[in-house]
């Protein structure tokens, strides 16, 4: 049933939703006595106006790619993984353990080690909710929320207790050894006298995230497992009838999702902080939800949405510096994006669908050729949307 062209679904509707979120955000800024245009200008120049700005924007974007992909993969199986926050925190634990307690000769090996450890730890943290959903029918949303809190308590315990080096006040592990420090953008892109990305946290992990976008695309659309995941998400009953085991799909999908969220720790823990700190995830797990919604759960969409949220995040911190607007303004914008692209999707979709339906109805007789409509249905339906009761 194409009620409207594909481009409208993929581009037009997210854009309208984004516009609505922007309008309300502008309203909030006006209400607190700020000039929205000025705010927009500062956000844009502060997030994309220099390599310094990009160095932060891409760092945040890297975080959001991991968590966005995590939510996206799960949502293809119609699972809502709200536990990215906890999975990323536990992923950080994995990174910290391998970086601190294994001797690494070179950063490239440490990076591989961190990828494996964070993925395993993140996947493990998603495994229990997954098994409980598959075997016992416990709602995965509730269990993953609970696991976020359990992860927070666990890290809180470890970072004030066993993992904290004696004699320090901070709730953090010891700094990772020199050999595990991965190259930052500054190390990679500065030539001779010109130093780019000075003092910014963006690092090689960005390319890991981009590679994962490609891998996830391959997984979802080019492999048998991906097909099974999508089939399961489309219709659980039909998938089961076709011999796709629901337990396997739920567990495997959640393991992949948890691994992706866990790998965020490569960026913020191995790449940036170079030690594990408390609250290292800083809500990125939840932003992953917004990113996946914006990106329509497609890796390319997730990539673009992650960059957009990176811009938003970095621009938002600039707002705080320049205009004294609290950083929480970003949270407001993020909430509005989630609201309009996620929860109020139909509010935008219904009128747009109606518009396209009317246009099609007004168009002259369809050109000769095989009709694409199933028999018994009008060639040009006048009202395709179910009437809002």
């Amino acid at each position: 049933m194409d009620r409207m062209p594909r481009w409208a679904d993929v581009i037009l509707i997210p854009l309208i939703s984004l516009l609505l979120a922007a309008i309300i955000s502008a309203g909030v800024l006006l209400a607190i006595g700020q000039n929205p245009w000025e705010a927009l200008r500062i956000m844009v120049s502060g997030s994309v106006g220099s390599t310094y700005a990009w160095g932060y924007t891409l760092y945040y974007a890297t975080n959001f790619m991991f968590t966005g992909l995590a939510v996206a993969v799960a949502s293809h199986a119609r699972l809502f993984n709200i536990g990215g926050e906890g999975q990323a925190a536990i992923g950080g634990l994995g990174v910290a353990l391998v970086a601190l307690y294994l001797p690494w000769p070179h950063w490239s090996l440490a990076l591989i080690g961190a990828v494996v450890a964070s993925a395993l730890f993140g996947a493990a943290w998603a495994a229990i909710p997954a098994v409980l959903q598959a075997k016992r029918g416990s709602h995965i949303v509730i269990t993953t929320i609970m696991f976020n809190f359990i992860a927070a308590a666990l890290l809180n315990y470890l970072l004030v207790g066993p993992l904290k080096p004696t004699g320090t006040m901070e709730t953090a592990t010891a700094p990772f050894p020199e050999a595990t420090h991965v190259p930052s953008f500054r190390d990679m892109f500065s030539f001779g006298e010109t130093i780019l990305f000075r003092g910014t946290p963006a690092n090689v992990t960005f390319f890991v995230a981009v590679a994962l976008c490609v891998l996830v695309w391959l997984l979802i659309w080019k492999t048998r497992l991906g097909y099974e995941i999508r089939a399961f998400g489309f219709s659980e009953g039909a998938a089961r009838y076709a011999g796709i085991g629901s337990t396997k799909i739920i567990v495997v999908t959640m393991l992949i999702s948890g691994a992706l969220a866990g790998m965020m720790a490569i960026n913020n823990t191995l790449g940036e902080a170079e030690r594990l700190i408390l609250n290292a995830v800083e809500g990125a797990g939840f932003i992953g939800i917004a990113v996946a919604l914006m990106g329509r759960s497609h890796p390319l969409g997730v990539f673009l949405a992650a960059i957009l949220f990176g811009i938003l995040y970095q621009g938002g911190s600039e707002l705080g510096l320049m205009l004294g607007i609290p950083r929480e303004m970003i949270v407001v914008i993020q909430a509005l994006v989630i609201l309009f692209t996620g929860a109020l999707d139909n509010m935008v979709r219904m009128p747009v669908e109606r518009l396209f339906a009317r246009r099609r109805a007004r168009a002259p007789l369809s050109p000769p050729g095989p009709t694409r409509h199933p028999p018994g249905r009008d060639a040009a339906p006048t009202s395709t949307t179910p009437a809002a009761e």
Binding site: F149, A153, E328, G342, A343, P386
Partner: protein, 323 residues
């Protein structure tokens, strides 16, 4: 453990359980009508902020509660609009509401008061005082029961008593009235309710509205009931989620909700006094473990190892009239 310390812990238990209980009952109404509500946290936060802010500005805590209630109801209306009218994803709507509240309370709070998202300190008469129940002073001398009455039951804000009263009231409303029967039916089989000629939409909006109301009371208790004296950023600190946990723990029933919330309140009260616990039990228990215990218990309950928690059948699914 000496008797006085136990009384203190029980007293804090009741105080800490109040917002949990109100939020839990809010979730009960919403989820019994088939609307998942993980936005309890956000609604509490909005109400906590507005109640404290208005109480600080006008000096009237009741006016604060009124405005807080309006704020919470507005957020409930957004949730209803998204999940009932536009048949959106109820979980995502809840997430959005939580973030909207977390962000707006700080942004607006900073604009209004410029105290880093706090509201000004509430003084005498600007908050819900601790009420002394009748005969508390006289009964103090009676051993056990009298002291229990004077120290634990008496001396809470009116919101605590409203919360306790809300339990039998909710039970009566849900199980002894026509409205309650329909509300529960709409969470199990909305099509049947629709067939009977009753508006699914209206019932669900009513449930979401009641949830907004109860969340407003919960939020006001956090910020304006003694000994609290104002709003601080993110002051709900996950209580909305603990309330959800309690709701599952209580298997979506009012009286068991009271028990679950008292249990989780007790855990919080104990976590506040680690030294006492160590002295009583003879070993140290990690505060973080106590923090995590409500969540761990909920997962265990959800896993069905200790009795099975079965949610309302139509929960989370938007109702489409005439497919």
């Amino acid at each position: 453990m000496d008797w006085l310390a136990l009384l203190q812990i029980l007293d804090s238990t009741l105080r800490l359980a109040t917002p949990l209980l109100l939020a839990c009952l809010a979730g009960l109404f919403s989820e019994r009508a088939g609307i998942f509500d993980i936005g309890l946290e956000g609604k509490m936060l909005v109400s906590a902020f507005l109640a404290a802010a208005i109480a600080a500005v006008t000096g009237s805590v009741w006016l604060g509660l009124l405005v807080g209630t309006l704020g919470s109801l507005l957020f409930a209306a957004i949730h209803g609009l998204a999940s009932i009218t536009f048949r959106g994803n109820q979980l995502i709507s809840g997430v959005a509401i939580n973030f909207l509240a977390a962000g707006l309370t700080v942004v607006v709070g900073q604009y209004w008061f410029a105290e880093g998202g706090r509201t000004p300190q509430l003084g005498q008469g600007q908050r819900f005082e601790q009420l002394t129940l009748p005969f508390a002073a006289e009964m103090r001398d009676i051993p056990v029961l009298g002291t229990l009455y004077a120290e634990v039951i008496s001396g809470h804000s009116i919101l605590t008593y409203m919360a306790l009263l809300a339990v039998p009231l909710s039970w009566w409303l849900l199980y002894r009235t026509r409205f309650g029967l329909r509300l529960r039916a709409v969470g199990e089989n909305p099509a049947a309710v629709d067939t009977a000629g009753i508006s699914v939409r209206r019932l669900r909006f009513a449930a979401v509205g009641i949830a907004g109301l109860l969340c407003a009371l919960a939020g006001a208790q956090l910020s304006t009931a003694e000994p609290a004296a104002g709003f601080i950023r993110d002051m709900t600190a996950g209580r909305g989620y603990i309330a959800l946990a309690a709701l599952i723990f209580a298997k979506w029933r009012p009286w068991t909700a009271l028990g679950a919330c008292l249990l989780f309140g007790f855990l919080q009260a104990v976590a506040l006094r680690p030294a006492l616990f160590e002295q009583t039990l003879g070993f140290r228990i990690q505060g973080q473990l106590l923090d995590a215990l409500p969540y761990i218990l909920t997962v265990v309950i959800l896993a069905g190892f200790v009795g099975r928690a079965i949610p309302p059948r139509a929960g989370g699914e938007p109702y489409v009239k005439e497919r």
